[in-house]
């Protein structure tokens, strides 16, 4: 789906973000990540907790300061972070707590219009725009406009967050685990809504999640992270059919019910992710990787192209012919 002719809307170049970790030490949450998202594309970002997904998402909006690297918007570096935030909007994991408990839904949705002026929302006055976006996310403005956040269910609150973001007609949404806090039956509603809004508003999306099935359902391309680094990037069908990185395979094999058909048991990885304060040398996955050897400990693998738009950072990528569906093994 990535169309080479359209210029990337967002480019991240060699981004490094670290947090203070006490006693003058720092922990690198993101260590040298590069990626590009084409206009109109949905990039899925998966990885386990603490791998730096949220930090990367926040760094794109400059909510955390990057130590190194830069983020380009449509080819140039927006020096003013507020201009960036006008065009890129963010959705958070916990919808209820990302709404100001002291304000009403209609005011919350109108927040962007107050900041950027009513013109940012297209034609019509403030209340018209608010009604329009509330309708767009499937909420009745009459019923919900006057409610306060604690009077909403999780799914409704996430719809309000979407309406708030869409009111100023952004080009892109950065969604940090937007459905993880929701009930299973409500997740599907929000995912369908996202697909519809994407078409309706012509949106580009970065969709962060730890749930492979959800990412598979909504993304055009998928990027897999481990401990602050990129493991593998590929178009969605390619990735789920021909994953090359041992970690990607391990992730797929761990999903209950084995929906992605990776041979069980043989791929069960041991141990737990090491601490990001003191990451392993060389390849960061080597402490849990069944294929690790001395080279993996010495040299950090570079991303190599193994197919159309398919990059893998591994010294010993898995043979794609080790088919996912080979359950006999």
């Amino acid at each position: 789906m990535s169309r080479p002719e359209s210029p990337p809307l967002i480019e991240v170049e060699d981004l490094v973000v670290s947090y203070p970790a006490g006693r003058a030490r720092r922990v690198q949450a993101v260590s040298g990540v590069s990626l590009a998202i084409a206009s109109g594309e949905t990039l899925g970002l998966v990885g386990e907790s603490g791998c730096g997904k949220s930090t990367l998402a926040r760094a794109i909006l400059r909510l955390v300061r990057a130590e190194h690297g830069r983020v380009l918007l449509a080819g140039d570096d927006p020096l003013d972070e507020r201009r960036l935030r006008r065009r890129v909007q963010m959705i958070f994991q916990d919808p209820v707590s990302s709404l100001n408990p002291a304000r009403r839904v209609a005011d919350i949705v109108a927040e962007g219009l107050e900041i950027w002026g009513t013109d940012a929302g297209g034609s019509g006055g403030r209340s018209e725009i608010v009604e329009r976006v509330l309708h767009a996310v499937g909420l009745d403005p009459e019923t919900f406009g006057a409610r306060r956040p604690h009077e909403l269910s999780g799914g409704q609150a996430q719809r309000v967050c979407l309406a708030r973001a869409l009111a100023i007609r952004p080009e892109m949404l950065v969604l940090d685990e937007p459905v993880s806090a929701l009930d299973v039956s409500v997740q599907a509603q929000i995912l369908n809504l996202l697909e519809r809004l994407k078409a309706e508003f012509g949106l580009t999306m970065l969709f962060v999640s730890h749930d492979l099935s959800v990412v598979r359902a909504i993304s055009d391309r998928v990027l897999v992270m481990y401990l602050g680094r990129v493991c593998e990037v590929a178009p969605v069908d390619e990735l789920f059919r021909r994953a090359r990185h041992p970690y990607t395979r391990a992730l797929m094999a761990s999903v209950p019910g084995k929906p992605f058909g990776v041979p069980p048991a043989s791929r069960l990885i041991e141990g737990e992710p090491p601490s990001p304060i003191d990451p392993p040398s060389g390849c960061r996955f080597r402490t849990r990787c069944p294929r690790a050897d001395q080279r993996c400990a010495d040299v950090a693998p570079d991303a190599i192209a193994v197919g159309e738009g398919h990059l893998v950072a591994c010294h010993h990528p898995v043979d794609p012919e080790e088919s996912h569906d080979d359950r006999a093994r």
Partner: protein
């Protein structure tokens, strides 16, 4: 209903406090037109009030040394008290609030300066300030107000700074930043409205402190020249033996006023508090259910269990007529969305609830012991030996301040009858069995020193300590990453198999149950709406909710961007007076009958379903 007035208790007392304050304000305003005597007139000279006259019709509050009318003096004391309190509180809250917000939100050098100032100001004795300023500028109300204000800035600043720091990290403030909101906007629109209530509540308490402090200063003879309550009390204190009313009446008025402000402040604090009171439970159990318990002593046998939580927002029917039998070595899975009642079914077995007031009806037997109505010692012994429990969040399932050793050996020494040393040996074995190496060192650890997966292994070890015949696992893997989840599920399956334990496994992930459960129960609105052997349930789901749930997961075989099947609406909060089927508002097959009458339990061999119109085998899934 017991407990229902609990939520209204504070407002009630706070209202009483507010009424007292209103009475004082009105009296002070009306003082000039009320038929009161001149507070400074000496009654022994005018002959109106006698020396130390007792309270009575002539002088309601009695007379003082020179026959001054105490009622008039107490009323005259209202004004300085309120003016002092009001001005100090307003100024202190304003200045301290601004300083606190600025320090907490802008951080950096300003914050360090502010913290330095707060530290110094809190360490500086107010008394020195009072005496010095009084000597320098005289003992007027204005001077006292100025000093009290200066002294109250630091506490307000500290409160507001702390609140700002926590608020600034909250998602909605980050969200506003991500919208491109300016600093000033975040300050005024996001922070200020949420700071107002705690500040106001603190201000009421501060008001009380001001009045108390002034009283203390009067007693030391260090307050203002004006007639204050503190002075009236100090003056009367010497006469406490023979004329107690002279000191006690003003003291009572002062006490009531301080109490009123404290009550109002606390009431406001309650309004803002999001913490719900939670506690060890008082439980009420209904009469035994008419069904006599079955003859088989299964590890777990639940009959017609209903659990109602009496909460501030009304009664919740967390468990509604649940019957469930778990045989030895059987793994029963409970699946449902959040709030469906899965956890409450487990909690009802062990009698540990998140709210204070709970009623349980029906019967629950563990190894043949009635844990609902048995004697407390029997129940505790049964729970301690026959049941092991694992909870969802490994981060909070272990006591953060006690070593692993204590937590792991406690069940063995309390209920298992082991000595310390024997328990320690068993503990090491257990850690080994749950796959934790280096057991001796782990025993000395505190929970925060272990990773999430390791902690969950420890909670499993604790649950297994006394060889339970029944393991209750409440979403044991939800908080863990998929790769760790797989490790833990494999471990649980192995242990269950080795020890031939019965296990109840709760989760919201149907696919996960497919891997581990023999029987699956689907829970919705407090009821088990469908129960069937695992394979059967996946192949022939009969309840409409189960069908919809299976369909709403993304299909790994379908191309990406395929629209998902959706269940409209959201899960209900089950109430005791609900009629009909709780799934009816979301059900595609609902009829009028579904909305009016409780669906019957239809049994087809091992397949139970509670539905008026279960899906037939020929219908498409």
């Amino acid at each position: 209903m017991p407990g229902s007035d609990r939520s209204r208790r504070f407002p009630w007392l706070a209202w009483a406090g507010a009424a007292w304050i209103a009475l004082l304000v009105i009296t002070a305003l009306l003082a000039p037109v009320l038929p009161l005597r001149d507070p400074s007139a000496k009654g022994i000279r005018t002959g109106e009030v006698g020396r130390f006259e007792s309270p009575g019709w002539n002088a309601w509050f009695g007379g003082a040394r020179q026959g001054e009318d105490q009622l008039a003096r107490v009323v005259a004391g209202i004004r300085p008290a309120l003016v002092l309190g009001l001005v100090v509180t307003l100024l202190g809250a304003l200045l301290g609030g601004v300083l606190g917000v600025a320090a907490g939100y802008l951080r950096g050098r300003l914050d360090r300066l502010a913290v330095g100032f707060i530290d110094a100001a809190l360490a500086f004795p107010v008394l020195v300030l009072v005496i010095a300023a009084r000597a320098a500028f005289g003992a007027s109300l204005v001077v006292i107000i100025a000093i009290f204000t200066a002294a109250s800035i630091a506490p307000y600043a500290r409160l507001v700074r702390g609140a700002t720091l926590t608020l600034a990290e909250r998602d909605f403030v980050v969200a506003a930043r991500a919208m491109g909101a300016t600093r000033r906007r975040i300050l005024w629109r996001e922070l200020a409205p949420n700071l107002a209530l705690p500040l106001f509540s603190f201000a009421c308490l501060g008001f009380a402190v001001v009045i108390l402090t002034e009283g203390g200063l009067s007693f030391l003879g260090l307050s203002v020249h004006e007639l204050t309550w503190g002075q009236l009390i100090a003056e009367g204190a010497g006469e406490i033996r023979h004329h107690p009313h002279v000191a006690l009446i003003p003291a009572t008025v002062m006490f009531l006023t301080v109490m009123a402000f404290n009550l109002v402040g606390d009431g406001l604090g309650q309004l803002g508090g999001r913490r719900r009171p939670v506690t060890v439970q008082r439980q009420r159990t209904g009469p035994p259910s008419p069904d006599a318990p079955g003859p088989l002593p299964a590890p777990l046998s639940i009959r017609n269990l209903s659990t109602v939580l009496h909460t501030a927002t009304g009664d919740v029917m967390a468990v509604d007529d649940v019957s469930l039998e778990v045989a030895a070595a059987e793994v029963v899975g409970l699946v449902g969305e959040s709030g469906s009642g899965k956890t409450m079914i487990l909690r009802s077995i062990v009698g540990a609830f998140p709210v204070a007031d709970v009623s349980r009806n029906g019967s629950v037997e563990v190894d043949g012991v009635d844990v609902l109505r048995g004697r407390a010692e029997d129940v505790q012994r049964t729970l301690g030996t026959a049941v092991g429990m694992i909870s969802q969040n490994p981060l909070t399932a272990l006591n953060p301040v006690r070593r692993i050793e204590h937590q792991l050996t406690e069940p063995m020494t309390v209920h298992g009858g082991l000595t310390r040393a024997a328990a320690r040996r068993r503990a090491l074995e257990l850690l080994d069995q749950v796959g934790l190496t280096d057991g001796a060192r782990r025993l000395r650890s505190y929970p925060h020193e272990l990773s999430g997966g390791m902690r969950q292994r420890v909670t499993i070890a604790v649950a297994l300590a006394n060889h339970p015949s029944l393991l209750l696992a409440d979403e044991p893997t939800t908080a863990l990453d998929v790769t760790i989840q797989e490790q833990i599920v494999t471990l649980l399956a192995r242990l269950q198999d080795e020890r031939t334990m019965a296990m109840v496994f709760v989760t919201h992930d149907l696919a996960l149950l497919g891997e581990i459960a023999d029987t699956i129960c689907v829970v919705y609105g407090g009821q088990i709406v469908e129960r069937a052997p695992a394979a059967e349930l996946f192949r022939h789901p009969r309840h409409r909710y189960t069908v919809a749930l299976l369909a709403s997961r993304p299909d790994p075989a379908a191309p990406s961007h395929t629209p998902l099947a959706v269940i409209p609406g959201h899960p209900p909060v089950p109430r005791p007076d609900d009629r009909g089927c709780r799934f009816a508002p979301r059900c595609p097959a609902a009829t009028a009958q579904c909305r009016e009458e409780r669906p019957p339990e239809v049994v087809d061999g091992t397949h139970h379903v509670r539905c008026w119109h279960p899906r037939g085998d020929d219908e498409p899934a």
